[in-house]
Symmetry: C2
Subunit: 197 residues, 2 copies
Amino acid sequence: MARTGRRPGPGRTREKILAAARSQFAKSGFESTTIRGIAAGAHVDPKLVLHYFESKEGIFQAAMDFPFDPAQAIPELLRPGLDGLGVRLARFFIDIWDSPAGVRAHAIVRSMVTSESAAALMRDFVSREILARVAQALELDHPQVRASLAASQLIGLAMLRYVVKVEPLASAPPAKLAAWIGPTLQRYFTDPHATRP
Amino acid sequence: MARTGRRPGPGRTREKILAAARSQFAKSGFESTTIRGIAAGAHVDPKLVLHYFESKEGIFQAAMDFPFDPAQAIPELLRPGLDGLGVRLARFFIDIWDSPAGVRAHAIVRSMVTSESAAALMRDFVSREILARVAQALELDHPQVRASLAASQLIGLAMLRYVVKVEPLASAPPAKLAAWIGPTLQRYFTDPHATRP
């Protein structure tokens, strides 16, 4: 891949890659976007893209300012087994929103609600990178139903606690919230009847 | 209350009242807004406001284009008792979103996410008019915790089904969805342990 003119510094190259990634993700969605396409858009070698971001998920996470890395976080959450997964996942999710990274989570929710393309992009990413990872690790039927039901309880809690700020959810300590919604997530993940109408 | 000039027709009067209501609700919130204040803002007699809208809740519902009347719907949902309340409530909620009124529900969610004052207004209304009504009818402790947890599951389902459109939630038939999340709502409403960390 030809580079013309002065070679930009590392900070500028990273920014150029991220700008190209944002544009490609927005245009083509998560699935259809490739490392090669992003590299071409940024006029850099694909190897340089991988050097900075390691994977397509890594670029997406950086481009969208996604508050955690699912490739690392999901296996860690699942490692201790299904026992207690509901409370662990609830606590992990609440701790992110309560941390400084919560601002970014809030921005993502806002963009999903106001932009169809942002919603589609995030849907792709969340389905493939989060729900599919969790679903794969589950030993029961209908893993995609289970994972998306759990996601619905988590996103609803975020809406009421952080966006609409309904009490007592807005002020409750994280451990209490995790104890309240943990059993719901646990049931979605592990109850054989949870997905049978 | 003095009226000057030509008396406006009924359609215009209704619109004037709604405009005054929107402005007062946005400025003062749901609780602090009064029928008298709205009437003064619209330069009409408070009796005329009541003639058109019956109650402050009625004006709010019309001003915000709220998709159902909680004063009527909540008692109807609760009348058959706690048995099966979770599935009934889930189905009621999903049916509204699936109906033409779902467009208005979507608009309300969008405004809550993008505007702090819209979020505060809706929080007031939902807490007083929906959650408090449900909480009052519950026979267990911590009714406000129970009602807001149930609301979190409902709003999260709406986010994933209608806004982000995650499968299989986006395409599942209403009866299936109600069967999936109904037991969650039921547990929040009736399980003695649901609110004890």
